[in-house]
């Protein structure tokens, strides 16, 4: 045992030598609470600055932020569903189909028994889709991508057929669903509104955010936001969660420790479907007030994207959902505000370049600077941005994150691999 801890007998460097503790420290950027708060403040400051320079008040008005949060909820719930499933090792491409089932369930039960029952039914419908996925992938070991694609197909077919039975006259949409009650914090929201209208630097922008989260917030938003820490707690702080995640990392090792892998995967995929269904139900009940055929428009896939964007973590997928929700909210705003966003991107890229150059990472730093220059050129020479730019933002952002930060992303080790009990070789 006298051998040195690092370095092989031949004197060749081991990976441990190359990545000395110092180098590791330099490479990784740990996101602590304080740093997160600083980043958020910086973001608000940049938005505020751009708002004042360009005069695009809709950039971060209370209305925009409220809309962004509203759009982020279904995305986040689908993403959370994806998280549950993939953490247990089952890839869930069927989120979209489960979400469609959720919208229909909410439409049918919401019209018949009221919006709360609509949410319950939507969640259950989605969970049934999840159960089907679990039967196909866990019990029968079918390829998970294939099963997901089939569930998307089935979700559409089943809801279309049920619609013709329930609403024979107009099968492509339901009658309107009664609204979910909302709450308003009386004094705070009014004060926030008056401060937000002053147009002060930073203060008014914070007030807009306060206004957005205190004025006419549907209770579903509260439930959805509560589900994020609840999921984190269950998956990362309980024995059940540890077992569930171990099924996604090393199912055969889990099996050897006596974990019932099948059961944990079933529960995870069932909950996954329920969450996606809940997301769909919110989409129908709160955002549209109606079930309409094809209203999910790929939100399930955006949720999947948000989860990957967030590195299979609760905090990351929340940030991803908010970002994607914001881009959707911007699609409904004036072209002026979207145009002003280009300036936000320029400032962000310059800051990133400065950070990279400070870290002596010359090539990425210069690339960031060039991108900033190109976007600034675009900003300076146009008055508006095509509508489609904000439409493709979530997808392009996900592709960029995947391709630029793939070394930092880590999906569960056994994600997507079929598991058959006792078949470890």
């Amino acid at each position: 045992m006298s051998e040195p801890r690092s370095g092989t007998k031949l004197g060749l460097p081991t990976p441990g030598d190359v990545l000395s503790p110092l180098a590791l420290q330099k490479r990784t950027f740990k996101l602590t609470g304080g740093r997160l708060a600083m980043l958020v403040c910086a973001l608000i400051a940049v938005l505020s600055l751009v708002r004042i320079v360009t005069g695009a008040g809709e950039l971060d008005s209370a209305g925009t932020i409220a809309a962004a949060i509203g759009f982020a909820i279904p995305i986040g719930m689908a993403g959370l569903g994806g998280l549950w499933s993939e953490r247990s090792g089952v890839v869930n491409i069927g989120l979209e189909g489960m979400m469609i089932l959720g919208t229909w369930g909410a439409g049918w039960a919401g019209v018949t028994y009221g919006p709360w029952w609509g949410l319950v039914a939507g969640t259950l419908f989605g969970a049934l889709g999840g159960l089907l996925h679990a039967v196909a992938t866990v019990t029968f070991g079918v390829d998970q991508i294939v099963s997901g694609v089939a569930i998307n197909l089935l979700g559409l077919g089943v809801t279309q057929y049920l619609s013709t039975l329930v609403w024979p006259g107009q099968p492509t949409q339901s009658p309107s669903i009664p609204a979910i009650p909302t709450f308003t914090l009386p004094w705070i929201s009014d004060t926030a509104k008056s401060i937000a209208q002053q147009g002060w630097f930073f203060v008014s922008d914070v007030a807009s955010i306060v206004r957005a989260i205190t004025f006419q917030v549907p209770y579903t938003t509260v439930i959805a936001i509560a589900l994020l820490p609840i999921t984190f707690f269950i998956l990362w702080r309980t024995a059940f969660g540890l077992r569930l995640r171990s099924c996604g990392e090393a199912p055969y090792a889990a099996e050897s420790l006596g974990v019932n892998v099948y059961l944990h995967k079933y529960v995870a995929v069932f909950v996954s479907g329920g969450l996606a269904g809940f997301g769909g139900a919110v989409l129908a009940t709160v955002l549209s007030g109606i079930y309409r055929e094809g209203q999910t428009q790929g939100q399930g896939f955006i949720g999947l994207a948000a989860m990957i964007f967030g590195n299979w973590r609760v905090g990351g997928l929340s940030a991803g959902s908010l970002l994607f929700g914001y881009t959707q909210a911007m699609q409904l705003r004036s072209g002026e505000a979207v145009h002003a966003l280009l300036l936000v991107i320029v400032i962000g890229m310059v800051a990133l370049a400065a950070w990279q150059l400070y870290r002596r990472r010359m090539v990425p730093g210069i690339v960031s600077l060039v991108v900033a220059g190109v976007v600034f050129f675009w900003y300076a020479n146009t008055d508006s941005v095509p509508d489609q730019v904000s439409y493709v933002t979530p997808y392009v952002a996900t592709l960029l994150v995947l391709s630029l930060a793939s070394q930092r992303l880590r999906m569960p080790a056994a994600d997507g691999k079929p598991y058959i009990k006792g078949q470890d070789h």
Binding site: A150, L156, Q160, L304
Partner: protein, 365 residues
Amino acid sequence: MRKLLLALAAPVLALGFALLVTTVILLLSGHPPLEVYRQMWDYGTQPDSIVLTINLSTTYYIAAVAVAVGFKMNLFNIGVDGQYRLAALFAAFVGGHVELPPVLHVGLIIVVAMVVGAMWAGVAAVLKNRRGVSEVISTIMLNYVATGIIAFLLAPDRFAELIEGSNNIGTKPIGPSGQVPGFDVVSGASSQIYGTIVLAVAVGVGFWWMLNRTRFGFDLRASGLSPTAATASGIDAKRMVLFVMLISGALAGLIGIPQLLGAAYTYNLDFPAGLGFTGIAIALLGRNSPIGIIFGSLLWAFLDVSRQILDLSGVSKEIVTIMQGVAVLSVVIAYELVRRYRITAQQRDVGRQLAAEAELAEAAA
């Protein structure tokens, strides 16, 4: 004999199960199932319906082969949908703006479609090879990016113009030299079979030949069956990913061709969407085999055509979508079950043989 039975068992079981589910749903919603099936059969076997079915299956066949090329080596090109739509848009745009002798014109349109489709699929291949991005995720994202690009380009001052007498917009129609005439094959039908059915046949024969008669096809199947064995035998995995993705994308580019050159002559807002996903379903149904997919696409097209009669008799035609979905899911489950049965049967046979040999050896001693 047992081999043949086992090969047929899975599709027969799955289709039977799909039919059973459909029958139960029909019974539950108060429709006589046999009567519904009879109506569909009667309507689907009329001459015009047969022509429609064949034309539709031409498109479906190409779509399914485009998907199957990738599936054969476990490469999931979910992005066929975006690839064919983007390819059809560019092909229609170029085709509408050039004047060439007939054969050359058609050839140019096809080449443009294949190149655009291959390039869009190539993005996913490069991302996978160079950055390790799963092609499933990247192609899903690229589908939506393609939708955005098409929405951007299909605008009056860009690729499109307003179609007279409607509020639809489309690319400039392709002239007569770029149109492919149809055949009158089915007697009594008022419509013609697309001339581009030749293209589908070529795709099928080419796919079969490549799989079974070329080294590339062998490499492809080997990579699908066992990536580690393939790498050990000297197959360059990254090169395979790139080539297979490019081929899949080029074939995806062809999906829009029958519609473009045989009926629509323009890419407009009504151009059929979602064919890529139909292709995935049919490829699964046909077990990624050039011959299996023929049956899969004909069945799918027949169901799509014959369901049109259902609305008239008060049954919603979406029942067929459920049937198709159940069929796809149960086909993959059935194949998995048959595969497992085969393995246990093999093990049993081997065990029996070993036991017999041991007995013989004992008797000799």
